[in-house]
């Protein structure tokens, strides 16, 4: 099981983190890979 952290704070969502999470989920389903997506905080990394 691969664990993937995708931020879900307001600023991260403003830059499309929901779309990223959806894309990862869709790809994992398509390739039949078992993953766990954890929505966490971005710790401000969207600034970069």
């Amino acid at each position: 099981m691969i664990r993937i952290y995708v931020p879900r704070d307001f600023a991260a969502r403003a830059l499309g983190s929901d779309d990223v999470a959806d894309a990862i989920r869709a790809e994992a389903v398509a390739k039949n890979i078992s993953i766990q997506i954890i929505r966490n905080g971005s710790r401000g990394l969207h600034w970069l």
């Binding site: 307001f10 600023a11 969502r13 403003a14 830059l15 401000g44 969207h46 600034w47």
Partner: protein, 163 residues
Amino acid sequence: MSGKHTLLELHSAKPDAASIIAARYDNKPDALLEILHDLQHEVGHVPEASLPVLAKALNISRAEVHGVVTFYHDFRRKPAGRHVVKVCRAEACQSMKGEELAKAIEKSLKVKFGETTADGKVTLEAVYCLGLCSTAPAMLVDERPVGRVSPQKFETLMTELAS
């Protein structure tokens, strides 16, 4: 925000919606803000006709209800368009070409801030800081945050809304 009454029920009897919601809060005057929030959530706006109804139910003056409703700009006096776009016009967004964006949006939608497009699709509103300064200029499209908005990105967002 309890789900005791459906949107449809309240819509069919708009003046009644206020008294139904007030009753949920035992007609307590302290709960005026909560009542107004629920009313806007369920009816979509705070109808003029509901102000005297609330005043009577809560045993306060109409002026008092009017004062609260008009003080908080988030309370909508008229029904909104099908979508609501709230553009941040505060300092950080201004410093990131927010005002240029605001003008471009007004031109694109052919409305001024506070107005709804002729087709009833979009209501355009100004807000003053969404806490998204790090992704300025920012806006909310139907409660969804969007950062680093350019006029081009705005057009794309509007096209997505149409679909």
